[in-house]
């Protein structure tokens, strides 16, 4: 039992009847569906070696006997998972649960089978399950930390953003100081205005020199404020650009470290959006929004204090209509939020549609669907247009009303101040000061009304960025991972693997490959050939068993060391945007021209490259020269050969080539593979004739192993496959 199961056992022990003293269960499984109803309290299945109990709401509701003729199977259904007991070929349901317990179901089914069959427990059978410390829900594998998504403290993202800012703290501090200076300078202007009105304009003072001085100081203050503003913006842009560059590098490095499994869970577009789009949102907020918010906040506080000190009654009168305006905003906030959200969604739909149509433009044209796509696009844009007009109409009415409410204080001010001036309690200059301060305090009030929307947008972007940064690396280098020169001895020992817990792709595979051997892997589609290769390259970690290279478990070898000595030509050839030369040299950036050309010749690529107008300088990849499937494959082979790996992996490497070219490459490869370990997957079995050993995979395991001749004599699966292919070739010839 795991620690968690033991805790559960302690809790439910008093409810268990019919157990001998001190007998510990073999497993405890939580479930939450009973009689097709979801229970908000977890229920438990308690398994002993010879029987099991179901405990629901603190009561034992059922007890059944089990024996060596029994088997447990976990099944993933739609929206639920169930554990079945199979006895004499008849299956019955043990318990059912919503998907939140899916991992436990598969782990415990495996454990129970091992116990009933008397097998030793594997690592996957005793996998320690993690649970959210707050709500107790099982935690999925990709969550780092001890809380589920629901209970996670999202404020931690703000802290993390602050940590990323550490390197730019001096700049941020400096820009803050400048904010104070600008606010101070701006507050000074109305005071000089007052002196101008009260001491020169109203008394018609003709003292020219001080008058000019006052005007000049007003000009100076304005100029100073602008200059400091420019300086502050420059500092802030520097700070925010630094922060975002750092943040992007962190996200990018993290994506590179994540396993293929983690990256495959998201689309390329999604990751791109996080690295560029979301970080841009954060940057825009830092450069455009934060300065405004701080400036307005400082302004609001300082003007507020000044107004209260001057005349608290007047200040209260000015602020009085504010709650009205805020209330109007609050009432309509949900509605405006929904309106903008809807507009954004429709815009997003139009973008997606455009992306789809343009990516598949060949398909659209080849099926003559242009008119249909036009209609589809028109429909979406019409909808977007309709929503935009509706929103704009609403705002055309709403904004003036709110602004009017906000400005109501100014009418009150006029009445109050007018009275005071008539009674001689206030000068015209003081009125000018007040008017300016009042207009200064309304600016922040309007900005604060919209701040929530911007903050939400920022927090969503921050959360999305750190979601990637915080993701647990599931294929990570071990502490003190070793580096060494690989000789090429590969031992695969009882390896079991599945991309998810409900289906094992490879089951208990064992294989021994000696340095210099060429191994051919054959089998029908989907049997796990490419998976086996992915495991050797450690794109994924095995669920059980181990893979040794030169006697070292690959989980102990540094990934960089491992992969730099493996060369792979995969089914899907990928060329980066760049020249053909760059693409071949990618595997060995310090290679000289001759080496690159040699590799291209060996891969049979040189002959077609020289025929291209720009030869090795031909630009390929997206928006580049279009190469055929065979040509791409040959470049990819050249890349792998230039790499000069100790272990060469060919996954359908010559599938897109004609038989003649394939033969040329095969001959070239046979020279190369002489002193390195080669693993080749091929559907065209003739390719593997020279293999030292052919491994036939079938039904998740190794079905046959031997040389071509030995397997042909055996007349098993391999024989069948070869015969079927010969028949096909004959048919083609006829």
């Amino acid at each position: 039992m795991t620690e968690y199961e033991y805790k559960v056992y302690e809790k439910i022990k008093p409810n268990l009847t019919d157990i001998e003293n001190g007998e510990l269960p073999a497993a405890i499984l939580s479930y939450d569906i009973s009689s097709k109803k979801i229970s908000d309290e977890d229920m438990f299945a308690v398994f002993y070696k010879d029987r099991f109990f179901l405990v629901e709401n603190g009561k034992t509701v059922s007890c059944r006997q089990i024996g060596p003729d029994c088997r447990f199977e976990a099944k993933m259904l739609l929206g639920c998972v169930q554990l079945e007991l199979i006895k004499c070929n008849e299956a019955t349901i043990v318990c059912r649960s919503t998907m939140k317990h899916k991992t436990e179901f598969f782990v415990i089914a495996g454990r129970l089978c091992a116990i009933l069959e008397g097998r030793p427990l594997r690592e996957e059978n005793i996998q320690v399950m993690r649970f959210c410390v707050k709500c107790g829900r099982p935690l999925s594998k990709d969550i780092e930390g001890d809380r589920c998504l629901r209970c996670m403290d999202k404020r931690k993202y703000v802290k993390k953003l602050w940590e990323v800012m550490t390197g730019s703290k001096a700049y941020i501090f400096l820009s803050m100081v400048l904010f104070f200076v600008v606010t101070g300078v701006n507050l000074l202007a109305p005071q000089i205005q007052r002196i101008l009105v009260d001491e020169y304009i109203t008394p018609r003072n003709r003292d020219v020199l001080p008058f000019v001085f006052i005007v000049l100081s007003m000009f100076g203050i304005n100029l100073l404020s602008r200059l400091i503003g420019i300086l502050r913006s420059r500092i802030l842009i520097k700070a925010s650009t630094d922060v975002i560059t750092r943040l992007r590098s962190i996200v990018f490095e993290k994506v590179q470290k994540l396993s293929v499994a983690s990256v495959s869970r998201r689309t390329a577009g999604n990751i791109m959006h996080r690295v560029t789009g979301d970080t841009t949102t954060i940057q825009n907020f830092m450069t455009n929004e934060i300065p405004g918010i701080i400036e307005q906040l400082l302004m609001f506080l300082s003007v507020g204090i000044i107004l209260f000190v001057y005349d608290w009654k007047l200040a209260l009168l000015i602020i009085l209509p504010m709650p009205l305006a805020i209330a109007a905003h609050r009432i309509f906030r949900n509605r405006t939020r929904k309106m903008y959200r809807r507009q954004w969604q429709v815009g997003d739909q139009v973008q997606t549609l455009l992306h789809d149509i343009f990516s598949g433009i060949r398909v659209v044209k080849s099926f003559g669907m242009e008119a249909y796509e036009n209609r589809r696009f028109e429909k979406e844009t019409d909808e977007e247009c309709r929503i935009r007009i509706r929103n704009e109409r609403f705002f055309a009415v709403f904004s003036p009303i709110v602004n009017f409410l906000m400005g109501m204080g100014e009418f009150v001010l006029l009445y109050y101040v007018g009275n005071k001036i008539i009674s001689g309690e206030m000068t015209l200059g003081e009125m000018a000061v007040f008017s300016t301060y009042v207009s200064l305090i309304y600016g922040p009030m309007r900005i604060f009304a919209n701040i929530t929307r911007q903050l939400t947008m920022l927090m969503v972007a921050v959360a999305r960025v750190f979601e990637i940064v915080d993701e647990k690396i599931d294929v990570d280098d071990a502490v003190g991972a070793i580096k060494f020169k690989i000789k090429g001895n590969i031992e695969i020992e009882h390896v079991t693997f599945g991309y998810d817990e409900s289906k094992e792709v490879l089951k208990d595979i064992s294989l021994s490959i000696k340095p210099g051997e060429m191994i051919g892997v054959v089998g029908r589609s989907g049997v796990g050939k490419s998976t086996l290769i992915n495991l050797i390259m450690r794109m994924y970690d095995v669920s059980d068993g181990r893979i040794l290279i030169d006697g070292h478990d690959i989980r102990e070898i540094s990934q960089e060391c491992l992969r730099s000595q493996i060369g792979a030509v995969l089914q899907e050839t990928f060329l980066f945007s760049g020249s053909i030369y760059d693409n071949i040299a990618y595997a060995k950036p310090d290679a000289d021209r001759e080496e690159v050309i040699r590799a291209a010749k060996l891969a049979g690529a040189h002959s077609f490259i020289v025929k291209l107008p720009d030869a090795y300088n031909t630009y390929v990849g997206e928006r580049g020269y279009t190469l055929s499937g065979g040509e791409r494959q040959r470049i990819s082979i050249a890349r792998a050969l230039l790499h000069d790996p100790r272990i060469l992996i060919l996954d359908e490497a010559t599938a897109s080539l004609d038989t003649e070219t394939e033969k040329q490459i095969q001959d070239a490869l046979s020279n190369l593979i002489a002193d390195r370990t080669t693993i080749a997957i091929a559907h065209r079995l003739s390719t593997l004739r020279n293999a030292t050993k052919i491994v036939v995979l079938d039904g998740a395991g190794v079905a046959e192993v031997g040389t071509h001749d030995a397997l042909m004599r055996k007349k098993g699966i391999y024989f069948g496959l070869v015969m079927a292919q010969r028949q096909m070739s004959k048919m083609r010839v006829e």
Binding site: L77, C80, E84, N89, I93, T98, M99, K338, A463
Partner: protein
Amino acid sequence: MATAINNVVKIIYLNKNNASFYKTGDFIGMRFTNESGEQTDFGRVYLHRLFPYTELWTNISVMNKDSEEYGLIASIDDFDGESAELIKNELSIKYFIPKIKSILMLKEKFGFSSWKVNTDVGVVTFTVRDTYRSMIKIGESRIYVLDNDGNRYEIEDYNKLDKKSYKKIELYI
């Protein structure tokens, strides 16, 4: 072209005349009689809806453990009595999609939304990542909500939800 495909690909449609279902353990087995009148007992069979979002009681594939198809049930109406009952029950075990009757709580924070809903199988709380994309609209007013654990919930007709519940999801529809 379509006629050519029809000639090459044969689909075996199952109905009360050529197939019958029986209970085996907690599940169902099938006996099939081919055109020449030979009867085969396939043992336990597995049912899969071909269009789980849009067709609940039509186009159901009957397969063995290894996903080899024995035949298609064009409509559940092609069976009656015990067989029809067994098919319905088997499908209700396989497709566990609680129907949302009312939404008690829906709060969105930083891209995640927390839900507490009243369903036909009890009160459930769950978390949804990227709420807008996790709500799949089918037809005019039916919605599927996919939660973070991989569970599905169905709102049969959002227009029939009470006003408070409707207001909570209005934003995402």
